[in-house]
């Protein structure tokens, strides 16, 4: 596999360079290579060849990152498991994989029913980075996102998917790192923007600066920029919303690239932000996890008044070289330019399908024969239109999915767990609302007289990650309904203002 071979070459070539800065400590590529080799030693000694999936507890330390590369060199896939998420949810995910193996670098583990992998104890200093042969269809990782039926949904990505993605980005030659770059990695490893944030630096011998989970991220990121003169930033828009009151104190001329993704990017804040990073090329990326990280992007203009926008939101641009976009109506038929419809896409980056979820696969994928070729499309659930210059504009979701802090959440999953602890049938609706900074937050409206919600909240905390637990709860005696007899979510939002 090309990208794995390139990772091998890059690590060997840059042994003296710093590879990671984690919690105030630098690790060189040599340190990294030794840790990878130790983990490979453990895998070859413990894990059967036929086992392809290994749960990876994301402790975000150097061994967590080394494990990712070690798994790939061994022809295996990582399935990131966040130790801060509820244990029930994590065990459900691991059980659905059918794997017995979990890699956990922490001293104490929460997964007693699995075979625990740790880096081998004896001092192995021999570096072993030669990749094993893999097939295109073997998996590189599986990420679990919120699912509508109360259980998380797995998105498997193959080696070939990831390879196609890297080729797609490199094709345009707009984003080209070198070995002296210092790159931010602010994302949870359960979120696929993390892959971009570590893979491109590793392929070029650059250094990756991580953000501790418990830190106040936006201030920690600024500290890294200020103290270490970072050159490459990959951010979600909410980070600059938080930093906005302090823009006049930020001056980071070293930043060469700044990428945004995971939410609507507004042109007015970009106008101010670009003064903080005057020498940066800035991009707005878009892409569902199902199509391997990024599917399209827009390169922002130095003069922000030239940026293509709709209602102040910057366009998601044009698809990568190997990605096909079409806007369709309800019967999957292409609609004319300028009209809004669902974005469907096809490419070599596209997942082979949700993990053990035939029902969802039937709903989300369809095939179409074009010029004698059968093309498999994914229905993104995103409402978009294409303008006359072939730029795509994102308008919102077609279904009940929202994004909080970049994480995709099915509102019905939140409602499912909220209702689970109620004996009586009470109407509950989860909605996304916007706080004063313009960041989305989750709220729960309950159609009832007020009552104590401790039980409900504790249950939600036990079943879902913190970003899925509503930050606001309100009791409303009678829900507003629209003309179609459906709960009027727009009106519900006004109760939270």
């Amino acid at each position: 596999m090309k990208y794995i071979g390139n990772l091998h070459k890059s690590i060997e070539k840059h042994l003296k360079n710093n590879a990671f800065y984690i919690d105030n400590t630098f690790f060189t590529y040599k340190d990294f290579a030794i840790r990878i080799s130790k983990i490979r030693h453990t895998i070859t000694g413990t894990v059967n060849n036929s086992v392809k999936l290994i749960g990876l507890i994301t402790n975000d330390d150097i061994d967590t990152y080394a494990a990712i590369v070690a798994f790939w060199l061994e022809g295996k896939a990582y399935v990131p498991i966040n130790p801060d998420h509820p244990i029930d949810r994590n065990v459900d995910i691991l059980n659905s994989l059918g794997t017995s193996y979990v890699f956990d670098s922490s001293k104490k583990t929460d997964f007693p029913n699995f075979i625990l992998l740790k880096p081998s104890e004896p001092e192995i200093t021999a570096i072993n980075l030669k990749p094993k042969k893999v097939s295109d269809k073997d998996l590189a990782y599986i990420l679990f996102t919120s699912g509508s039926t109360g259980a998380p949904k797995g998105v498997p990505i193959t080696y070939n998917n990831l390879n196609e993605f890297i080729e797609g980005i490199n094709y345009d030659n707009e984003f080209k790192l070198n070995s002296s770059d210092k790159c931010l990695q602010m994302f949870e490893l359960t979120f696929d923007f993390s892959v971009v944030s570590y893979i491109f630096p590793l392929l070029e011998g650059a250094c990756i600066y991580t953000v501790p989970r418990e830190s106040i991220k936006y201030f920690y990121i600024y500290k890294l920029i200020k103290t270490h003169n970072l050159t490459v930033l990959s951010l979600v828009p909410s980070i600059i919303h938080y930093l906005r009151p302090y823009f006049n104190e930020i001056h980071a001329p070293e930043v060469r690239y700044c990428s945004f993704g995971g939410g609507a990017l507004y042109n007015d804040i970009i106008e101010d932000w670009s003064k903080c990073i005057p020498n940066s090329k800035t991009f707005n990326y878009y892409g569902p996890t199902e199509n391997t990280i990024y599917s399209s992007y827009y390169k922002l203009n130095k003069n922000s008044s030239l940026n293509k926008t709709h209602n102040g939101v910057i366009t998601i641009g044009q698809p990568l070289n190997n990605v096909l976009y079409t806007i369709v109506d309800k019967s999957n038929q292409e609609i004319p330019i300028g009209e809004s419809g669902e974005l469907v896409l096809a490419s070599g980056q596209l997942t082979p399908g949700y993990w053990k979820n035939e029902k969802k696969n039937k709903e989300s994928f369809f095939t179409k024969t074009e010029n004698g070729k059968t093309i498999r499309y994914y229905k993104t659930g995103d409402l978009c239109f294409k303008d006359s210059e072939n730029n795509y504009m994102y308008l919102g979701r077609i279904d009940f999915q929202v994004k909080i802090r970049g994480f995709r959440i099915e509102l019905s999953e939140v409602e499912f767990h909220a209702k689970a602890k109620c004996h009586e049938k009470i109407n509950m609706v989860a909605i996304d609302i916007f706080n004063d900074l313009g960041n989305a937050e989750l709220a729960l409206a309950i159609e009832s007289e007020a009552f104590n919600t401790n039980n409900i909240v504790n249950h939600m905390k036990a079943k879902m990650p913190d970003y899925m637990v509503p930050a606001h709860i309100k009791f409303i005696k009678e829900f507003p309904y629209n003309n179609n007899g459906k709960i009027d979510r727009k009106k519900l939002r006004t109760y939270f203002k």
Partner: protein, 80 residues
């Protein structure tokens, strides 16, 4: 202003913003120790503290706040 006085003034601010008083602020308290103290609530707490003491923090102060002790130090130096 004495440290104790600052603690007395900031504790109700935390309680108001976080909507609970299930915590005991000491110099070594971090966001990890207090339920609900995260990205957004931190920003609101900072704004409320600025109003209460009539000060304006610099980004340089804010980026080096790792615990409540650092916060109290920054308040002390801002009012003096």
């Amino acid at each position: 202003m004495k440290k104790e006085e600052i603690f007395e003034k900031i504790t109700p601010i935390f309680a108001k913003v976080l909507e609970h008083n299930n915590f005991n602020l000491t110099e070594t308290t971090t966001t990890n120790d207090v339920d609900g103290w995260g990205s957004l609530t931190h920003m609101i707490i900072i704004e409320e503290i600025e109003k209460e003491f009539n000060i304006k923090f610099k980004l340089l102060d804010l980026m080096n706040m790792d615990n409540v002790g650092d916060l109290v130090k920054a308040i002390t130096s801002s009012i003096s």
